[in-house]
């Protein structure tokens, strides 16, 4: 039988939905029993929230110090230690999970299966490679499977009605070679890009940081999150956490509306799972139209104001 330990992610006050998506993936393994591990300096409140995820039996609540819960080196050894009784160790494929899980894999002497997009059975999984240009089936016949779960491929489950047991742990030897200094967090007034049902996204075609206001206004009009291409972030039109794509966020909103984005493969891999993709570009031959469900060719500076009026 599969016993699965999942690394829970949180920001100090709430559990990240990526955790729930990892639980959803784990539930697709027949007969799996699922536990979580959560780390925090003051762990009890967040552990209680973690215990509400439906389908989870036990939450291992680990107390850390000096904000070590944010650091891979601060938590990976404990995850590896706890995983002794498990067949699988999963984490969400967020920057947090990507940072920590390979450390766990190395401590356990295993290769990691990154970005699982589909569960075939307890030991076989599908994952994308080459910016999503190919999909491989990977299997492991070793004692332990360490993996990250591609959050855009799985649904958020019930995060409120569970009632898992909480088991308390602590870390004996706290590392001091890595220190958390600060977090410069982005705008929190708009919906979260990774989980929002609607996303308005701008590219190089937007032309400037001032013009990007158009995207924010349109997003606010329809209650959407905002995203961007790498070119727009590199040019300083908007902050890095808005980047969508192979090396940014992989998202799956119901609606993705792109403005002045050409549709490079590295961008498209981040939006392929979106329900409806709308493309607005002045170039009718832009590759974005190959994946768009609805395309409109034209100048975004004329189209956006008109949309504001008519939506």
């Amino acid at each position: 039988m599969s016993k699965i330990l999942i690394l829970a992610q949180h920001d100090g006050s709430s559990i990240n939905q990526g955790t729930s998506k990892a639980v959803t993936a784990a539930q697709q393994i027949q007969g799996a029993s699922i536990d979580l591990v959560v780390f925090a300096d003051d762990v009890s409140t967040i552990a209680t929230k973690a215990s509400k995820l439906a389908g989870v039996n036990t939450v291992h609540a680990v107390t850390t110090s000096n904000e070590n819960w944010k650091l891979a080196q601060g938590i990976a050894p404990k995850i590896a230690e706890l995983s002794a009784n498990y067949s699988h160790v999963f984490g969400p494929s967020t920057t947090f999970g990507k940072d920590v899980m390979p450390c766990v894999a190395a401590l356990l002497g295993q290769n990691q299966i990154s970005d699982i997009m589909q569960v075939i059975d307890a030991t076989t999984f599908k994952r994308p490679i080459y910016a999503g240009n190919a999909v491989i089936s990977v299997s492991s016949n070793h004692d332990k499977i360490v993996a990250t779960i591609r959050t855009a491929s799985f649904k958020t489950g019930d995060m409120t009605s569970g009632s898992a047991n909480i088991e308390n742990h602590s870390i004996e030897n706290t590392q001091t070679d890595t220190k958390f200094i600060s977090l410069q967090a982005g705008n929190s007034e708009r919906p979260d890009l990774q989980t929002a049902p609607k996303v308005i996204s701008g590219g190089r075609g937007i032309g400037s940081e001032e013009n990007f206001e158009l995207m924010y206004k349109l997003a606010d009009k329809i209650g959407a999150a905002t995203g961007a291409s790498r070119a727009a972030v590199d040019a300083g039109y908007c902050p890095n956490e808005m980047q969508v794509g192979q090396t940014g966020k992989i998202i799956a909103p119901d609606l993705y509306m792109s403005f002045g984005i050409s549709g490079a493969i590295q961008h498209l891999t981040g939006i392929k799972d979106a329900g409806t993709i709308v493309a607005i570009n002045k170039d009718a031959d832009a590759p974005i139209y190959e994946v768009a469900d609805i395309g409109l060719v034209g100048d975004l500076f004329k189209i956006v104001p008109e949309l504001m009026e008519k939506l």
């Binding site: 920057t95 490679i129 080459y130 220190k179 409806t276 709308v278 609805i294 008109e306």
Partner: protein
């Protein structure tokens, strides 16, 4: 301080790779190969640290086929001092790569190891973290700004929530994100000069003695599911109507 930069030879990012019809892999014959873009950024960062007087030697290493010497020569032309090819005719997975690199790290004793955060072929994003763990040294992954202050480094990381700054004690490992820097172009005279720089070749077996590889097996390659063909509309009115019909606005 010595900086070790680990790079990988990959299919150039401009190539749209295709899965072979028999599902045995992707077609790479005759395809343009380059240094993984993140690794170019790693080389550039090492050069800038050296140019700022905070490092005295840059060693670049790759694990790969004999032809990967081309990518090492490019790194030398950019300004690295010395190169090592760990030759492996077969593809290896991340954990073996990390063990092999650990061997090089133990031999070279760098103060800093810089690597790209992910290779754009496997998109694994694992080897740097695995190497840091095996080396038992701090890691700063997905770094977009790096400041070396004697025996410490201040690293700004691009994370989902924004920009996180951490301090790591050296020796340490850094993995690069795209916005760390813009790599320089190599000039012709540098390519000539690079031909005379030392490039050692060793076999991978010499670097992984006693390592028990737990390889994953890759059973099949397939093309991704194509999206259904969309429609083109001619006006904002039609667009709004289409969105309303789908219940999206």
């Amino acid at each position: 301080m010595k900086i070790l930069v680990a790079i990988k030879r990959v299919v150039d990012f401009n190539v749209r790779v295709q899965v072979k019809p028999d599902g045995s892999g992707v077609a790479t014959d005759g395809v343009k190969m380059s240094i993984n873009p993140f690794d170019e950024i790693a080389i550039e960062e090492a050069l800038r640290i050296k140019e700022a007087g905070k490092a005295d030697e840059i060693v670049v290493v790759t694990i790969g086929v004999n032809d990967a010497q081309q990518q090492l020569r490019t790194a030398l032309a950019m300004g690295a001092d010395r190169a090592i090819l760990v030759e492996s005719e077969s593809e290896i997975q991340s954990l073996k790569a990390a063990h092999s690199l650990l061997h090089i790290v133990e031999k070279e004793q760098p103060g800093l190891v810089i690597m790209g955060k992910q290779a754009i072929d496997d998109d694994n994003n694992q080897t740097p973290q695995m190497l840091a763990t095996l080396w038992k040294r701090p890691q700063a992954t997905f770094v977009s700004k790096l400041e070396i202050n004697e025996d410490k480094a201040l690293a700004t990381r691009e994370i989902d929530a924004g920009l996180e700054t951490i301090e790591i004690k050296l020796p340490a490992l850094v993995s690069t994100d795209l916005r760390l820097n813009e790599p320089r172009f190599v000039k012709l005279p540098d390519i000539m000069k690079a031909k005379r720089k030392p490039l050692d070749v060793i076999n991978i077996d010499e670097t992984v003695a006693g390592f028990d590889d737990k390889e994953l097996s890759i059973e099949n390659y397939e093309s991704p599911q194509p999206r259904q063909k969309g429609v083109m509309v001619d006006s904002v009115d039609e667009l709004v109507a289409a969105l309303k019909e789908k219940g999206l606005v």
